[in-house]
């Protein structure tokens, strides 16, 4: 029998927020994986600080609601201490691409066996609308009223360059597709990364733009680094261009924890 997966406390995300979608898709993913034999008591939800982070409170699963930008290293410590645990790290774009970027890069470099799902609304939600590392150039946020003068980071490109072994992009407007990505990520042995595009209804409503431009990638050779990189560069996170979603790269290699144990 599956356990109640909701803590049943009041949810304070804005009505219609895409975080509800991510939460629902994740629950469905776990339900399906549970049928395949996943033990929910081994799942550890982690989150950073931001609107996204509230998911730790809402899920009736073991969790570690970490500091802003600092969920990933906690997950790495957990995995090192107990390799049977399955850390799933929900982070924000400000959180993982700004405050704690070094941890994201190094977790990918090590191929530590954790899952990182980024709620990428391309804005700082909880702190009420400042520009984020993936905000488009000229983005008018509360700290950049004249428009941001920085180019956005491309996290897919960054993760490929950082040697991540599973790299995908999802979109909250494509819930079934996102669920499939989450399942693949959880099946992948090694560092799994999904950049989940989500609109922020309060501070960056990108629904129209995504609606017009997001498309599902056709099946391709996901073991080919060069073609993955070419695909990653198709969209630069600015305001324009077509946005492929799906798996960019999936490679099998030994995980950090496995290698550390091999040196015994």
């Amino acid at each position: 029998m599956s356990r109640e997966m909701d803590t049943k406390i009041e949810k304070t995300w804005c009505p219609g927020c895409a975080n509800f979608t991510i939460e629902a898709v994740f629950k469905n993913t776990l339900l399906e994986l549970e049928k395949e034999g996943l033990d929910l008591s081994k799942v550890v939800v982690l989150s950073g600080i931001g609107c996204h982070g509230k998911i730790s409170d809402y899920l009736n699963l073991s969790s570690f609601y970490s500091l802003h930008g600092r969920a990933i290293p906690v997950a790495e410590g957990i995995k090192l201490a107990n390799k049977d645990l399955i850390p799933i790290v929900f982070v924000g774009d400000g959180d993982a691409y700004g405050e704690g970027l070094e941890h994201l890069i190094f977790a990918a470099k090590r191929n530590t066996n954790i899952n990182v799902f980024v709620h990428n609304n391309r804005v700082y939600g909880l702190t009420t609308g400042q520009f984020a590392p993936t905000s488009p150039e000229k983005f008018k946020g509360r700290s950049t009223p004249k428009g941001s003068v920085e180019e956005p980071l491309n996290p897919i490109e960054l993760m490929l360059a950082s040697k991540a072994s599973f790299v995908a992009r999802g979109y909250t407007g494509k819930a079934e597709h996102l669920k499939d990505l989450m399942k693949q990520a959880l099946h992948h042995r090694g560092f799994s990364f999904i950049d989940i595009l989500q609109p922020c209804l309060a501070y960056f409503d990108s629904r129209d733009f995504y609606g017009k431009n997001v498309y599902e990638m056709e099946a391709q050779d996901v073991s080919n680094f060069n073609s993955a990189m070419a695909k990653a560069l198709e969209w630069d996170y600015n305001n324009g261009g077509k946005i492929p979603v799906g798996v960019f790269y999936n490679q099998k290699k030994l995980t950090f924890e496995e290698k550390i144990c091999l040196t015994n």
Partner: protein, 559 residues
């Protein structure tokens, strides 16, 4: 009294440290107590380095300024270490790099062409340390077999060749006119350890499974020692991307049930402070080693200081229980580290071990029996009912379950939370939780009543009292013994053993605070606890106190 001091001086790359260790092992084998002070710069080659090795028939925790023997590899040593020489000092020098007229006439000298002997044997200059070990053993009429044994134990390449050149030196030493036979004591050799090694051993004995650290002098010795002995100790030593990751990985490991420690110096500790506060809020056990060096900022990396006392005490935003201990020698480093680990787990709160370069990297003879250390279990969850990670208990201590435990939903969090670990902003709940966390201190104070949290040393009847903490203990205790005065050394900084100190200060005439910082940080803590010191002796040049000079300063105050 049998008490000998040796200085070895040269430039970085000359193998000064190894030479010091040779001598320490030699005298350890002869039953002497050992102390080594290493003075080196933050560079890989060049500069000026020296070690002072002291061997004594009594327990010692400090070096002396004036040495009986000096092994001199370069001219710089003659100039820069002048104040370490007295007229009886026997100076053994490499006559291939130093001319006899470089040497002030007042010294007794043993000239030996060390460089040439090595050149003829096709050995690198670093082997001068083996040659000089031989010379010294010859002068002191020590059995050459012992020299051989030490070289065999510590040299890994060209062992035979090392022994051969040591023997050439030995023969030269035997001939020396000022030679005498050194007495072999009845004591068995002891373990000789650096403060860093002692901290590592204490942690291992107290159940540490992970040590996370980013390299930073003077704490790196812990990382190197544990990494080299991972399998022997059953631990993993891990070097992540920075100190922020270090502290958070350790907290992740602890939440999954494994004991972890982290180590660094001031700059790295500054980066860990947010995680320290997280451990306070989320009630995560974690031990931080803060090995101090002079600051601010990068400061003077390879020298010593006690200027982070208040930083460690006040580190971390918000209010929560923190345990801070300050060992003064390797024995205390071992048992206080173990105690900090056990208390951190029992009280689910961070602990800090305050060390400094002078404790971390000096070498001491160890007396403490590691087997006395026990792993003390925290209050574990019974497995019955719904698990509340932060259940509100009378003693402030909630029972522990770990991530992955069957039937327990374990919710750790950086936000203020209810008993289940779910975020709250409710005023009553906030107050309740703050009080629950702070109640742990009351429980801890009760437990500590039965423990030794201060040392009282020297002449316990004296009305002149020195107050010292950490590595300053070494020089101060010996100075106090020589002067017949009393020493109080708090080993706990938080909770601060104010009552215990006050009891010992009853009737004191003069209270002198001694620290290696410029502002008297311990005096500040004492004052906050209602204890006024009369005088402060402060040193903030990166060098530790040295017995003779400290004695003079104290004398002036108590005359």
């Amino acid at each position: 009294m049998k008490d000998f001091s040796f200085l070895i001086g040269g430039k970085a790359g000359d193998g000064i440290k190894q030479a010091g260790h040779f001598l320490a092992q030699l005298f350890n084998e002869l039953g002497y107590n050992i102390f080594i002070y290493e003075d080196y710069q933050s560079l890989i080659t060049g500069g000026h380095n020296f070690s002072i090795v002291r061997a004594s028939d009594k327990r010692i925790l400090s070096h002396k300024q004036k040495v009986d023997f000096a092994i001199v590899f370069n001219k710089d040593t003659l100039e820069k270490n002048q104040e370490n020489f007295k007229k009886e000092t026997i100076i053994i020098y490499d006559s291939d790099v130093i001319q006899s007229n470089d040497l002030p006439k007042k010294y007794k000298a043993v000239a030996f062409p060390m460089s040439n002997v090595l050149k003829e044997s096709n050995l690198p200059l670093i082997v001068r340390n083996a040659v000089s070990l031989g010379i010294l053993a010859g002068i002191l009429k020590i059995d050459f077999e012992l020299v051989k044994k030490i070289i065999e134990n510590s040299v890994h390449k060209k062992i035979e060749e090392n022994i051969k050149v040591a023997e050439i030196g030995y023969k030269e030493g035997l001939e020396h006119k000022n030679g005498f036979e050194i007495e072999k004591l009845k004591n068995e050799p002891r373990k000789i350890l650096t403060g860093n090694e002692a901290i590592a051993l204490g942690a291992v004995r107290a159940g540490m499974k992970f040590y996370f650290a980013y390299p930073m002098t003077p704490a790196s010795g812990i990382l190197h020692f544990l990494a080299a002995n991972e399998d022997k100790f059953g631990v993993k030593a891990i070097h992540p991307e920075n100190e922020i990751a270090v502290a958070l990985m350790a907290e992740g490991a602890a939440t999954a049930g494994k004991r972890a420690m982290v180590g660094t110096s001031g700059g790295g500790f500054a980066l860990m402070v947010e995680a320290l506060s997280l451990a306070g809020q989320a009630e995560i056990p974690i031990v931080f080693v803060l090995s101090q060096r002079p600051g601010p900022a990068t400061g003077i990396p390879t020298y010593t200081s006690q200027a982070d006392l208040l930083f460690s005490l006040f580190a971390g935003h918000g209010e929560f229980l923190k345990i801070v201990v300050a060992p003064g020698d390797v024995d205390e480093a071992m048992f206080l580290t173990a105690m900090a680990m056990n208390l951190s787990w029992k009280y689910q709160t961070p602990a800090i071990i305050l060390s400094d370069k002078h404790l971390s990297e000096s070498v001491f003879s160890a007396y403490y029996d590691e087997n006395k250390i026990k792993i003390e279990q925290p209050k574990l969850w019974s497995g019955k009912g719904d698990y509340k990670r932060y259940s509100d208990e009378k003693d402030g201590i909630s029972s522990l379950a770990f991530l992955g435990d069957k039937n327990a939903i374990v919710k750790a969090t950086s936000y203020e939370h209810n008993e289940f670990g779910i975020t709250t902003e409710n005023s009553e709940e906030a107050k309740k939780m703050a009080e629950k966390r702070l109640r742990k201190k009351i429980t801890l104070l009760k437990e500590l009543k039965g423990e030794k949290t201060i040392n009282v040393l020297g002449n316990k009847k004296s009305k002149n009292v020195l107050i010292v903490w950490g590595s300053t203990k070494g020089a101060a205790v010996e100075a106090a013994e020589n002067l017949g005065i009393k020493v109080i050394q708090p080993m706990f900084i938080e909770p601060f053993p104010a009552d215990e100190i006050k009891k010992e200060l009853k009737g004191a005439k003069k209270i002198i605070d001694i620290e290696t910082n410029a502002t008297g940080q311990m005096a500040y803590i004492l004052k906050a606890n209602g204890i006024e010191v009369d005088e402060k002796i402060l040193k903030y040049d990166g060098r530790p106190f040295i017995i003779e000079k400290l004695e003079e300063k104290i004398k002036k105050i108590i005359k």
